[in-house]
Symmetry: C2
Subunit: 510 residues, 2 copies
């Protein structure tokens, strides 16, 4: 979830001012709505040392009603805290109905710091943290979790600046420098924690924090949207309860305060909404000669590796997702061309049939799980749940939201059982897509490839972009990362796919 | 969950016949209702070797429509299964909407057998099993899980009988005899698995299986009730969806088939509904002299142990629950009498105040979590959630159902952090309670102790009995077992409490 993030996003001063002011108004309103609906809220900040947690919290609370929130800084446990069970100090600080509690570091301390100095460690901290959050969200507490992400370079600059100033030098510890020195190790460590604790009811937002203004806007927007959604849900639930037969509403609906008209949301810079794709350049050069040579070379190795897979009984799965006309078919063709057909199969994901519809959406993919020594190529896959099903409303909001976790669990089980799992997102520019669509329309041989549905999907490009970005972010895990394939140039894309498969199989088969 | 169960419950032949026939009719109906409502159902059987899984399944399916169910026997994985990820064979066998799949052993195999022979083990089988069940129940699959429990003696008898018969001798393996030889070890092993995997959406039912007839009735009743509840819920949900604004119902309500009148449930033998309390004899003899001597002796040790606790910084908590007038107050008085008041506190659980009501129900108890070196005595406790709140409707059905898991998680965290946790259920007979109530009414000094509420609770004895029994069953864990105190004789009860605390502290403090 961290490795693909471009942390250096920026926001100009005037754009910042305009945006943050508008968000501030919405935030104040959303806070009042949550207070009226008695929704308790937790906002917590974790992240790298010197990532700017304090400043972000400062900006966030500027727009909050001071009577309704409190900020807690979690440091080394006090004497009193050490004498109690680990979660005691966090349980005590859970918010009452309608209040906002902001945590500068939190119960993740025990995970992030690797237990260093805690006197009352937990035997299974991940389980205990999840259980804690689950108990709270089950009763309606909103939990917004931020991880502030800065580059190694930026962190170093900040630590040096802090040290250079006699007033702040004391804030820099050995541990901070260690983090900077072993940045990559810590990155993997944090990545693992985030993926283990990212849940639909308490999901992580990674904030690109090299630029404070950008980070402020992203933090503020995320909190605003979470609060607005929670208040709306509480309001709807109250309405429903009031309407339910035989149950008296706690507060008659007629008395519910009129909702003030929402401030028209200021259009936001697109970059705030995407974390992964914003920085992908979809065109990469490659000429025919280079293409032919590299493809041939990679395919030759693949043939040999495929035999080795069979002999070593290693299963593999390659998942292809991408925009319509991004070239999935062509890439798959080049991938399987050198392989013995008895050792692989291509599983296309068309609309589910009646039997599939009568089962869990993962059922058909479990059926297709690769067998030891074999490769299954998925032409589209279980990711339909969080793309087409999400956008077309084929599943409920709750269903696609929990699907990220389900998919990660599914993939972790595959990988645990020895499957080499490769996931490709073929990325093209909307203009390139248009050129390809028009090319298909005008080419009698390819006309069958273009349908009305393709044109309809194209109109929803922005919606898909947001969905795809969240998918790439939430399902890029340490055990099954995505490979983003720059696919405006088909030659480059095919070579990247085939070479990636080769490299991963080589790693696995030694 | 297993250790308190009296496995030798019996049912006479004529009572069995009458009951099972009535249940059979209800089962057939419930199955049809689930088919109509498209509810998929999984019923799985685990348990000791020779516990009678096959026979129970045989009885169960007699009343099911053969077109709607299938039985799967899970044995050593086949060659094909071994070539796939572990959960593959179970995912493939998940039921389609409206169908019933019965498993003779299941995905618990990997846990129950300790991975012996599996070729594709999971890195964290408990997590993977829970994730699997959760994904299914999230989409509406009903999962009924049975553990068939027999005594060591009965198991031995059955294994010998199987071996004596040439036709069945092959069925007895070395592993079966090993189980019988190391019965206690396996008991703890199974107990741990059950407590780790008991969830509100997929809870375990332990079946006392020494007597086949009794077991048949309990299995059948449990399945019937689960199916009836699921069909009812699906029906209600469909009604709600149909009523929701802006959404077209999948099938118009008017067309929904009239529900056939339910067969009037045959009154069931009370023993089928209770697992733990049924065999408790609430009167235990003890005369004054013995009382005085033993109490004095135990109290003297307690005083010393309390100092040791303080020096070793060991925290402790003693929870007192029991029927009204069972003598909680008197027992607590004797327990704390010898202790230094600076080292303990008694936390009574009256009705929650406004601040407590605005938090999670466990919040106030987390606040009271004992400090290192100190003892907290809870006079009533978080168990109110699954007793008074459940029965008086102060919380929803979903809330008290998930509370068992929440309470177990809470207690496991306390114990993990070093708390010595002791839980007492003070058990009296309804007649004894009546005597005590009347005694209070007629004694001017004690009149304050009896309220109208006590009389109202008394009228709900049967409801409380079922709730208490489920509580004792689901929250008796390896880390925090209940002590049931036979309390018709106050002298005996007090001595048992004080001596139990002494013994547990001695064990802990060495």
């Amino acid at each position: 979830m961290l490795k693909r993030i471009n942390v250096s996003k920026k926001l100009a001063k005037d754009e910042y001012k305009k945006t943050i002011d508008a968000l501030g108004v919405r935030l104040g309103e959303a806070q009042r709505a949550c207070r009226d609906e008695k929704v308790p809220v937790i906002v917590l900040f974790e992240g790298w040392s010197a990532a700017g947690k304090g400043s972000r919290i400062g900006s966030l609370i500027r727009s909050l009603d001071p009577r309704g929130f409190e900020v807690f800084t979690i440091q080394t446990p006090s004497e009193e805290e050490r004498l109690h069970p680990y979660m005691w100090r966090f349980w005590r600080r859970t918010p009452a109905d309608g209040r906002v509690h902001v945590f500068d570091r939190s119960w993740y301390r025990i995970l992030m710091r690797g237990r260093e100095e805690e006197e009352t460690p937990l035997s299974d901290p991940v389980r205990d943290v999840l259980s804690f959050e689950r108990m709270l969200t089950d009763t309606g507490v909103v939990i917004v979790k931020f991880f502030l992400h800065v580059s190694r370079k930026e962190q170093k600059k900040r630590l040096e600046a802090l040290e250079a100033n006699p007033d702040t030098a004391w804030r820099v510890t050995k541990a901070d420098w260690k983090q900077n020195r072993d940045y990559d190790e810590y990155l993997t460590h944090f990545e693992r924690i985030l993926e283990e604790t990212d849940h639909d009811q308490a999901k992580w937002t990674v904030v690109e924090a090299d630029d404070g203004r950008f980070a402020d806007v992203k933090v503020c927007l995320t909190v605003v949207e979470a609060l607005e959604e929670a208040a709306e849900k509480a309001r709807a639930k109250r309405g429903q309860d009031a309407g339910a037969v035989g149950e008296a509403p706690e507060r008659p609906l007629a008395e519910a305060p009129e909702r003030p008209p929402a401030v028209a949301p200021e259009p936001l810079p697109a970059e705030v909404r995407t974390s992964v794709l914003a920085s992908v350049v979809s065109w990469q050069a490659m000429d025919r000669t280079e293409y032919r040579d590299r493809l041939k070379d990679a395919q030759k190795s693949l043939d040999i590796l495929h035999s080795a897979m069979y002999l070593q009984r290693a299963p593999a799965a390659a998942v292809f997702e991408g925009w319509d006309a991004a070239g999935k078919g062509g890439a798959i063709k080049r991938l399987v061309a050198p392989l013995d057909p008895r050792g692989y199969k291509v599983a296309p994901s068309s609309a589910p049939n009646d039997i599939e519809r009568a089962h869990h959406y993962l059922w058909r993919y479990w059926n297709e799980a690769p067998k030891a020594g074999h490769l299954t190529v998925f032409d589209r896959s279980w990711y339909g749940r969080v793309m087409v099903e999400r956008i077309e409303g084929f599943c409920t909001r709750a269903e696609w939201k929990r699907a990220f976790r389900e998919i990660n669990d599914f993939e972790e089980q595959l990988v645990d059982s020895g499957v080499v799992l490769l996931k490709f997102w073929l990325h093209i520019d909307p203009d390139e897509q248009l050129r390809r669509f028009e090319g298909r329309v005008n080419n009698p041989v390819k006309q069958w490839k273009i349908t009305d549905e393709d044109w309809r999907n194209r109109e929803k490009w922005e919606q898909y972009l947001e969905a795809v970005d969240e998918m790439l972010f939430r399902t890029s895990t340490t055990y099954a990362p995505w490979t983003i394939v720059e696919a405006d140039n088909k030659l480059f894309a095919r070579v990247k796919v085939v070479e990636t498969v080769r490299r991963q199989l080589e790693n696995r088969l030694k």
